[in-house]
Amino acid sequence: MSIVVTGISKLTNAEAERIINKFITGIKPIRIVNALEQLTIAAVGSVLDNAGVAFPVGTSSIGIYIEIDDAIEDIKDEYFNNILNEGTMGVSPLLFPYTSPNALAAQVSIAFDIRGESITMPINHSCSNVIEYAAECVAGKYISSAIAGRIILNDRSSAVEGGKYVAEFFLLEKLDIAVKRGAKIYRHLKAETHENF
């Protein structure tokens, strides 16, 4: 079975707000609390737009597979340092949920109403694991298409608005479906056909 890439996006924080403003009316109202969240929503919106996939999605046909590196540790540091500085008064119920790496995928699923699989893999090197697994899920017919990508520290010394983090995402789907809907095909991936459970 041939799996193809039909959407690509790559953004830094410096571009995230401008990109989100392009499709803000097409997503569910959502309170954006931190820079990583804003970047992830912008990058996923951008990849769906690039692939010609309408949103809000409203079905479980699309899954989201995100890799995040130690960028997530910045949120944890902020949360715990607040406690160290202010004691229990420093515990932030607003920030706490974002210390769980899947919060970014969750906010994406809410914003674009993506009800399929939602998998977050904290990995410290390349995003080959998450792309490979997403392709396997499409090939195994667990989902029809997959949004797969990563959020990573781009430049630790940079300010957030200066592009500290970068996000890159791809839309993966089966070749026949991509051809049927007239999607632009960027690349073919190797994926083995297998029966599911």
Binding site: S60, G63, I64, D69, D70, I72, E73, K76, D77, Y79, F80, N81, I83, L84, G87, T88, V91, S92, P93, F96, P97, T99, S100, P101, N102, A103, A105, A106, Q107, S109, I110, F112, D113, I114, R115, G116, E117, S118, I119, T120, M121, P122, I123, N124, N129, Y133, E136, C137, A139, G140, Y142, E192, H194, E195, N196, F197
Partner: protein, 392 residues
């Protein structure tokens, strides 16, 4: 022919009779032993206690530093599972680990000491460190994955491992979950007013919230053909697995259980079984108002009238909620219920909630013929994961 996946080994360290092995864990669970007591924060000096399910490390001969607890528990449970499976020597074993906070006590300690720039800090704080560390130490050269999907992490770790075998990436995967009690999480859940000051009472009318716990649990998965070829003992088959997003709210579940309903339906379809084939449901059962009601609604929407005939229990009533370890711990409970034809109880249950009106196996375990068991997991971010096990 389908490439079926079987479970051939199990290992667990939980707050209930820790370090004593699977059989003693199971006996204590079926006796309805409560591992929860009031405890202080692990590291910070705050004059307050919460009900928690902590692992008593003092019973070990060696002193284990708080910062090393995460790795110690992981290795202990991993070793137990590998020994149980007798799987040493296969050259392409993969590893899939679910964790929410990783070695958070190490991070807390370093931040408290102000020594975060010390060599090795960044690496050991990384959530992916544990899988690389264990893979190196135990020569696990197959696929290496860490998954962090809040309280569904452990179930997703098993599901992903099973799919790696189905897709032919390897014949053997070890899947586990691990998390430890931390100041970080206790204060966070307290700020969300999710913790109870009472006992945890899943599905009961007077339930007031969850109790945090800790632990490590691992299972060994193999392709059926590989397990049969080497004459392994088989605890059960993985019949299906699904992950679904609620796409609704960052911290609360969808009130009607939309994502969980879809996940259960999809997993049953994948397993190719009938609704009446299901003999036991190990619920997520956190003891919060909304989770338990949502879960009950989802089970009723899927099973209809049959829902009232299926025993549903929450082992968190005895073990607390161990985050990344919960899904694997509860998978082991399902496999042991199949092996022993016994269903562990939901303890602390006395007053029936008219809206949660299923058979929650109140207070006393029950002899029951279990051929197929389902484990449900849900978590922050609207995560829902479902896995089905069948008898060998």
């Amino acid at each position: 022919m389908k490439n079926n996946v079987v479970i051939t080994g199990m290992g667990i360290v939980s707050p209930l009779r820790p370090f004593k092995g699977i059989d003693i864990f199971w006996d204590a669970l079926c006796l309805g032993e409560d591992s929860i007591k009031r405890m202080n924060l692990p590291l910070m000096n705050i004059d307050r206690q919460w009900p928690m399910a902590g692992i008593d490390m003092s019973i070990l001969a060696d002193d284990i530093n708080m910062e090393d607890k995460f790795h110690f528990l992981s290795e202990f449970a991993l070793n137990m599972a590998m020994t149980d499976a007798g799987i040493n020597g296969y050259r392409n074993i993969g590893l899939s680990i679910g964790t929410v906070l990783g070695n958070i006590l190490f991070k807390e300690k370093k931040l408290m000491d102000g020594t975060r720039d010390k060599k090795g800090y960044e690496g050991r704080c990384s959530l992916s460190f544990i899988s690389s560390y264990l893979a190196d130490k135990y020569n696990l050269k197959g696929p290496n994955i860490v998954v962090s999907t809040a309280c569904s992490s452990g179930t997703d770790a098993i599901g992903i491992a099973a799919r790696k075998i189905v897709s032919g990436k390897t014949d053997v995967m070890i899947a586990g979950g691990v998390d430890v009690l931390s100041d970080f999480a206790i204060l966070g859940f307290d700020s969300l007013q999710a913790l109870t000051e009472d006992k945890i009472r899943p599905f009961e009318k007077n339930r007031t919230g969850l109790v945090l716990g800790e632990g490590a649990a691992f299972v060994v998965l193999e392709s059926g053909s590989h397990a049969v070829r080497r004459g392994a003992r088989i605890y059960g088959n993985v019949l299906g697995y699904t992950s679904r997003a609620d796409a609704n709210h960052l911290t609360g579940p969808h009130r009607e259980g939309r994502g969980l309903t879809d996940a259960i339906n999809q997993t049953i379809s994948e397993a190719n079984i009938s609704l009446c084939d299901v003999n036991y449901i190990n619920a997520h059962g956190t003891g919060t108002t909304y989770n338990d009601l949502m879960e009950t609604k989802a089970i009723k929407r899927v099973f209809g009238k049959t829902a009232y005939e299926i025993p549903v229990s929450s082992t968190k009533s005895m073990l607390g909620h161990s985050f990344g370890a919960a899904g694997v711990t509860e998978a082991i409970c399902c496999l042991l219920s199949i092996k022993n034809n016994r269903i562990p109880p939901t303890i602390n249950y006395s007053v029936r909630d008219p809206e949660c009106d299923l058979d929650y196996v109140p207070n006393v375990s029950r002899q029951h013929d279990v051929k197929i068991a389902i484990s449900l997991s849900a978590g922050f971010g609207g995560q829902n994961s479902v896995i089905i096990f069948g008898e060998a």
